[in-house]
């Protein structure tokens, strides 16, 4: 595949400031490259440099292997189209006239748009679901309609490179997918697309490759799977997130959990949480936010609790998916429970596979430092009554039962305060 748009060690910016330094990236025909990064990182500057609105102070930007410096504005507008973030329309052109303005670089000075130009405009307006707006004044349209009209205006330019600057921000769910499906289709038809995304799920879903712009530098660049990782999100966006594969659409999905800044800095005690089957996620998050040194008990890979604990960066004892808690794991859990100030058992179902884990924490923790979330009845006992009996014994020995994660937090706070355990 041939490179349509290339940044070759390009330094980009505005008079007096370099915004992006030494960027190297190339976008081939048929490819969608997603640009992601925090606000102000230089994503828009990367796009603006291609249309001459930002300066290239070192290196080069090339369109179809020709340096931008050698391409005049009209020729450039035939090669590259930009769908802007914000469309201004403080004048009463009809939507059709607005779209036809995109033909400008193809028309000679006195030439009026021909029937072929108008037919092309009708076609792209049908593609962008704006045909019914043709005779409306653009100053009366909603932000979403305007944004799709702006895409139509760009498509009549018939560019080989398409730049999208967060172009779906004003669109509803349906039109967002519609526009991005269309962009994907255009790319499959041979267009090269470079698109700024704020929505990482959409970036992952529609991009062949993702490039990260952070603090004026470009990189890493790679498949969504390679680039969208917990450590990258923590470093670039300062967010702890669960990165997984969306089970329905099969693309990488990112669920932000916590802002780095929201993470507590004090450590009023070490808490071990025994989780599983997704029952511990709110508990882990609540205790973590409150600043406790949270450790997670035996969790199987693939369990949501496992993903949450990993996203929060918690130390955890893990097992392969569906594996039973063996002696080694039970011993590690017991050791953890012994050094913890508080042990919290989430509202987990208990069966043969994880009964040893429940036993281990009940044995190791003193009754005063044991907190059980939820009542424990036969509906959660898949171990023939053994689990219920163990819990009943613990409660009669003095373990505390609480209703939910918030109550557990209050209880944990009470225990650590009474014990004066804060280090």
């Amino acid at each position: 595949m041939s490179a349509k748009l290339t940044y070759a060690a390009a330094t980009l910016g505005y008079p007096g400031v370099d915004v992006v330094r030494d960027a190297t990236l190339s976008v081939a025909a048929g490819e969608v490259v997603g640009l992601i990064g925090p606000n102000g990182a230089g994503k828009s500057t990367m796009l603006r440099a291609v249309t001459g609105s930002a300066r290239i102070t070192a290196g080069a930007v090339e369109l179809e292997s020709r340096s931008l410096a050698d391409i005049g504005p009209r020729d450039r507008a035939r090669l590259v189209g930009v769908v802007p973030q914000q469309v201004s329309a403080a004048f009463s052109f009809s939507a059709r006239e607005f779209v036809l303005m995109g033909r400008h670089p193809h028309l000679s000075r006195l030439q009026q748009p021909t029937d072929a130009d108008v037919a092309l405009a009708e076609e792209v307006m049908a593609q962008t679901d704006t045909a019914r707006l043709a005779d409306e004044g653009v100053d009366t349209l909603s932000g979403g309609d305007l944004q799709r009209l702006a895409l139509a205006q760009v498509l009549v330019q018939q560019p080989s490179v398409l730049l999208l600057d967060e172009a779906t921000s004003h669109l509803d769910l349906n039109h967002r997918l519609q526009v991005l499906d269309l962009v994907r289709e255009l790319a499959d038809g041979g267009m090269a697309v470079l698109a700024v995304f704020h929505d990482l799920d959409l970036a992952a879903r529609y991009s062949d490759r993702i490039a990260v712009v952070d603090g004026g530098t470009l990189g890493p660049v790679g498949s969504p799977h390679e680039v969208l990782t917990g450590p990258m999100l923590a470093r670039v966006f300062r967010v702890r997130a669960v990165v997984g594969i969306d089970p329905v659409i099969g693309s990488v999905s990112v669920t932000p959990v916590l802002r780095e800044e929201a993470v507590g800095r004090v450590c009023p005690g070490r808490v071990l949480v025994l989780g599983g089957s997704g029952a511990a996620a709110p508990l882990l998050r609540t205790l973590y936010l409150a600043g406790y040194d949270v450790h997670a008990g035996v969790l199987n890979r693939g369990d949501i609790d496992h993903a949450v604990a990993e996203a929060l960066g918690l130390p955890l004892i893990d097992l392969p998916a569906f594996a039973e808690v063996d002696d080694a794991a039970a011993a590690r859990l017991q050791a953890e429970a012994e050094v913890a100030d508080v042990v919290v058992v989430a509202e987990i179902p208990v069966g043969r596979a994880n009964l040893p884990a429940l036993r281990a924490v009940i044995d190791a923790a003193s009754a005063e430092s044991l907190v059980l979330v939820g009542g424990f009845g036969p509906e959660r006992d898949y171990a023939g009554g053994i689990a219920s009996q163990a819990v009943r014994d613990a409660i009669s020995a003095g373990a505390t039962v609480v209703r939910d994660a918030e109550a557990a937090l209050a209880c944990v706070a009470g225990i650590t305060r009474a014990a004066g355990t804060c280090r």
């Binding site: 009463s92 400008h104 028309l107 021909t114």
Partner: protein, 341 residues
């Protein structure tokens, strides 16, 4: 609307306005101290153009009324076209050569030229328009610089800078007039904003400035439409924005200089005409610019007719008529704009 119907609409609009201009000019020639019938007017003009022997009544038509009406049409056309160019350039419907201070700048340039050429009438026809042109273009450069001191060129700063500079430039003009008393009479006469001294040499001076100032923008009406989308968007669509802005500024200054050097300071024609045309025909410059050029001529011919006849035999400077109508119009625009927010 197909391109064909667009072209038809454009041609219809221009045709209707041209007929209106013809009627207004006939009225302008016909009314006055001595009434002349349209038939007599047309006859006299026909005899002038064909070089046929003149009738006794022709002199008043051909040498007095006609140059004045033609000059009014040219001046109105210059001002309205300049208004269209500046409104496109600044994407601001309140832009107008008078409000932007360019008329005052052209005025100062013309005053300097008038003072320097006191007594040398032959020189005036060259130096006055040149001075007005230099004054207009320097003023608009300073106004734009002042208005964009804080980084962005916003509407309020632009209008404030224009008005402030207008006062300074008008004061400088007065200062020069006080200092060079011997040339004061002719300058004051000219400054009032009128067409009283109209003659064929004036017509011959303005006409080329109108043609030059209008020709280039008429070939760039599509770019003017695109410029309304914002400078960055225009660049993305293939317009060489910086160069195009300079072209519009130069053409506009030429038009303002043309109007100012023969008629002094006449306000609001450049503001009102494009607005009225836009209300009826929409914002498309392919129609707006030629229609405003003709519409401005109609407005000015009628304003001059009113100035001559309303209080006859007293003749008002035409600037007073346009200001009396245009001032309230400007306020109405402001109120309407704020109502939209």
């Amino acid at each position: 609307m197909s391109p064909g119907s667009h072209t038809r609409r454009r041609i219809t609009a221009i045709a209707v306005l041209t007929v209106a201009l013809g009627i207004a000019m006939l009225a302008g020639v016909g009314f006055g101290a001595v009434s002349v019938t349209p038939a007599d007017s047309l006859g006299a003009i026909g005899r002038m153009l064909t070089g046929a022997p003149k009738l006794p009544g022709d002199a008043v038509i051909v040498d007095i009324r006609l140059p004045r009406v033609v000059l009014a049409a040219l001046v109105g056309s210059c001002l309205a076209s300049a208004g269209v160019l500046y409104q496109a350039l600044f994407r601001n419907p309140l832009a107008d050569p008078y409000i932007l201070g360019m008329s005052a700048g052209a005025g100062l340039g013309a005053v300097i030229a008038l003072t320097l050429t006191a007594g040398a009438t032959a020189l005036r026809f060259g130096l006055v328009p040149a001075g007005a042109f230099v004054g207009a273009i320097l003023t608009i450069i300073v106004v734009v610089r002042l208005a964009s001191l804080r980084g962005v060129l916003d509407v309020t700063s632009l209008l404030l800078a224009g008005v402030a500079l207008s006062y300074v430039l008008a004061a400088l003009s007065s200062f020069i007039m006080v200092f060079f008393r011997e040339s004061m009479t002719s300058v004051v006469f000219w400054m009032m904003g009128g067409l009283t001294g109209a003659s064929w040499p004036y017509v011959r001076m303005v006409a080329p400035m109108l043609v030059l100032g209008l020709a280039v923008p008429l070939f760039a009406t599509r770019e003017m439409n695109i410029l309304l989308l914002g400078e960055e968007r225009a660049a993305e669509l293939g317009v060489d924005v910086e160069r195009f802005k300079r072209v519009l500024l130069t053409a506009g200054s030429l038009l303002v200089a043309g109007a100012v050097s023969v008629s002094g300071l006449i306000g609001f024609v450049g503001l009102m005409t494009p607005h009225m045309v836009r209300l009826v025909l929409g914002p498309d410059h392919r129609v707006l610019l030629p229609a405003s050029a003709i519409g401005g001529a109609v407005v000015m011919v009628l304003a001059d007719l009113a100035a001559r006849t309303v209080l006859a035999p007293v003749e008002l400077p035409v600037g007073i008529v346009t200001a009396l109508v245009g001032g309230p119009f400007f306020v109405w625009l402001l109120v309407r704009r704020n109502g939209h927010r």
